[in-house]
C-alpha cells in the first residue's frame, strides 16, 4: 500500500510540473505579455515602450529560466505578486479559498446525504414507480448546468417570490444569503451521485447474500439497512470524491453568477487580467484538488473494499 501511495505521489508531482509549465507557457505568450504591459502602464503605450518595459521587468528572458525561477520561489513558499490586486498572492488566496471552502462545505453537506438517500430509495426496488420517477428526476438535475438552474432559481426565488437574494456576499453564512448558490451547486452534482448509488444498490440487491437474508425471514428494512447499504456505498464513495473537481468548475460558475467573491471569482479576475503569478497559483490549487481527490478515492476504495488488492 505504501509503495502504491508513493508511486501515485510521484505521478502527482510529474503532473503538477507538466501542468504548471503548460500554464506558464500559455500566460507568457507574446500577445498576453503585451496586454499585461498595456494594463500595467498606459493603454496608449507605443510598441517600443512595451518592449522596453517587458525587457526591464525581465519578461524577455528565456521561458525555461523564468519557469525555473518561479518554481524555485513557489517551492520555498513565495507565490509571487498579483498585478491585478497589487498584493502578494499569499495574501489573497488563503482568504478567498476560505470563503469557497465554506460554500463547498455546505454544498457537500446538502448534496451527499441527499444523493445517497435518493439513490438507495431508487435502487432498493429496481424498476418500481419510485425508482423510475427518482431516476428521471436525477437525469433532469444532471442535464441542468449551474448557469441554467441558478438563473431559473434567481428568477423564481429572488425576482418573483422575493425570499432569497440574487447575490451572495462572501463569508456571510446566513440562510437568505447562502441558499441559492448552495442549492444550485448541490442539485447539479446530486443527480450523478444518486444514479451511481442507484446502480450500485440495484446490483447489491440482486446478490446471493441478500437472497439468503431474505430467506432467513428478515424484514425488508433490516435487509436494506444492515446488509445491503454497507456494500452499496463503496462505489459511490469514489464518485463522491471525484465530484470535487466538478465542484471546482461549478464554483467558478456559481461565484460569477451570484457575485460571491471566493476562489472562483479570483480565478476569473486573474484570467481576465492575465495576472501571471495569481493565475499560476490558482491553477496549482485547482490541479492539486483534482489530483489529491483522485489519490484519496483510489486509496479509500482499496481500503473500503478488501477484495481489491493494489499491486
Amino acid at each position: 500500500m505504501l509503495a502504491f501511495v508513493a508511486r501515485r505521489l510521484a505521478v502527482m508531482v510529474a503532473t503538477m510540473l507538466a501542468l504548471t509549465f503548460v500554464v506558464f507557457t500559455l500566460v507568457n505568450l507574446e500577445p498576453n505579455l503585451r496586454k499585461l504591459a498595456l494594463e500595467q502602464n498606459n493603454v496608449r503605450m507605443s510598441q517600443d515602450a512595451v518592449n522596453i518595459w517587458l525587457q526591464e521587468e525581465g519578461y524577455r528572458r528565456p521561458l525555461v529560466v523564468r519557469y525555473g525561477e518561479w518554481l524555485g520561489n513557489a517551492v520555498t513558499g513565495d507565490l509571487g505578486y498579483s498585478t491585478r490586486f497589487r498584493k502578494p498572492v499569499a495574501d489573497i488566496l488563503p482568504e478567498r479559498l476560505g470563503y469557497t471552502g465554506i460554500l463547498a462545505f455546505w454544498v457537500m453537506v446538502i448534496m451527499v446525504p441527499g444523493a445517497l438517500i435518493i439513490g438507495v430509495l431508487a435502487g432498493m426496488r429496481e424498476g418500481s414507480k419510485t425508482d423510475r420517477s427518482l431516476s428521471v428526476l436525477s437525469i433532469a438535475t444532471t442535464a441542468t448546468p449551474e448557469y441554467v438552474s441558478g438563473i431559473i432559481f434567481t428568477v423564481i426565488f429572488a425576482s418573483w417570490l422575493g425570499i432569497f437574494k440574487g447575490v451572495a456576499k462572501a463569508g456571510d453564512v446566513t440562510f437568505v444569503n447562502f441558499t441559492l448558490p448552495v442549492m444550485t451547486m448541490a442539485l447539479y452534482g446530486m443527480g450523478y451521485i444518486a444514479r451511481m448509488t442507484r446502480a450500485s444498490m440495484a446490483e447489491v440487491m440482486t446478490s446471493q447474500y441478500i437472497r439468503t437474508a431474505r430467506l432467513k425471514g428478515l424484514s425488508f428494512g433490516a435487509i436494506v439497512v444492515k446488509h445491503a447499504l454497507r456494500n452499496a456505498l463503496i462505489a459511490p464513495f469514489t464518485v463522491i470524491m471525484l465530484q470535487f473537481p466538478w465542484l471546482l468548475t461549478g464554483v467558478v460558475i456559481v461565484e460569477k453568477l451570484f457575485n460571491y467573491k471566493g476562489f472562483g471569482w479570483v480565478l476569473v479576475e486573474a484570467a481576465d487580467n492575465n495576472d501571471i503569478d495569481l493565475l499560476l497559483s490558482c491553477s496549482i490549487v485547482s490541479v492539486a484538488v483534482v489530483i489529491v481527490t483522485q489519490l484519496i478515492s483510489d486509496v479509500g476504495y482499496a481500503y473500503l473494499n478488501p477484495r481489491i488488492r493494489v499491486r
Binding site: 505568450l29 442535464a143 441554467v148
Partner: protein, 383 residues
Amino acid sequence: MEPLGFFEIWAGVIGRFWPVWLCMAVIMGGSFAFKSRLGLYGRLYDSGVGMIGLGIVLFWVLTAIFPEVIATFGPLEQFASIKRKPPGTIEIETGVAAYFGGDNLGRDLFSRMVHGSTFVLTVAPAATLVAYMVGISLGLPAGYFGRKIDAVLTFIANLVLAFPVILLFYLLVTPGVRETAIPNVMSGVFFAFPIVFFGLLFHSRYYARPRLFAIQMAFTVVIGAWLYAGLVFDADPLGIVSLDPNELNIFAAVVFASSPGVFRIVRGLTMDIKTRDYVAAAQTRGENPWYIMLWEILPNARGPLIVDACLRIGYTTILLGTLGFFGLGLAPESPDWGSMINQTRGFIRIAPTIVLPQTIALAMLVLGLNLLADGLREQSLKD
C-alpha cells in the same frame, strides 16, 4: 397595441414551429410503423423515456435546420419598441408579436433562441465526432498493446483531465491565443485524425483488393483534404466549408477537452474485449493488429460508445454554454444560448422572463440527449 395573452403566445409559438411538427410526424410516425426492422433505433420506440428523449432531440435538430422559416425576425434585428418588454408584446413597426419578449438591445428573444440552435447543433455534434475519432485512434492501440504506449497516452490524457475545464478555456480561448498559431496547430492535429482513422480502417481490411482500396483511399484523401483546407486554413477552394478564427479556436478547445474522456472509455472497452475468443481467433489467423482493433473490437464496443456519444454531445452543449456564459471566444452579438444567457442575466430585476427562453432551451436539449442515452442504454442491455 394590446399585448398577446398567455394562450395566444403559446398558440402562436406552436404555430411557428409547423415545419418541425410536420417533419417530426413523418420521421417518428414512419419509424414507429417499421420499428421492428430498424434495430436498436427501432427498439427505442418501445421505451417511454427513450422516445421522449428522441422527440426532444429531433425537435431541436429540425429547429436548427429551419431557423429561417420558424423565426419571426432576424437574429440581429433591433426594435426599440420591444426592448426589455415582457412576452407577447407587439412590435409596432411590423405589427408582429415578439412571443418571448425582447432582450436588452431590443432583439426578439424567440427568434434569437431559434437561430441559436443552429450553432449549438452544428458545433456540439461535430466536435464530439472529431473527439471520437481522436479518442478511438489513440484508445484502441493503448488498450490493445498496453505497455509503454498505454502508459504515455494515459499520462497525457490524465494531464488534460486534471485541468479544470474553466481554466483550460480561459487559457486557450482568448483573443491573445488567436493571434498565435496555437488554434491552427491544435485543429491541424485533431483534423488529421479522421483522415488517419479512415485510412487505417480501409487499409486494414481492403488492401488486398487494390481497385476497391484505391477508390476508398481516393475518396478519403480528397474529402479529407478538402475539409482540412476549409476548416484549418480557411482556404476551401470551393468556398463552401469555412470557419471563423474564433469558431476554430472554440472547436479546437472543445475537442481538446473532450477527447481524453473518449480515449479512456475506448481504452477500457478495448482491454475488456481483447480477452474474448473471437479476438483470439483473429490473432491465430494471423490478422494485422489494426484489423483486429478496427474490425473486430470496435464494432463490438459500439453499444456503450453510442450511449456515451449521446451523453457527450449533451456535455459539449453545456461546455459551449459555459463558454458563452463567460463571454469567451464567441462574438458578443452571436445568438448562441450561452452568450444570450450572459448578456440578459443582468436584467432579471427589470424583466424576469428575459433569461428564460435560452436557459430552458439549453436545459431541454441536454435533458433530451440524456433521456435518449438512458433509453438507448436500457434497450441495448436487453440483448
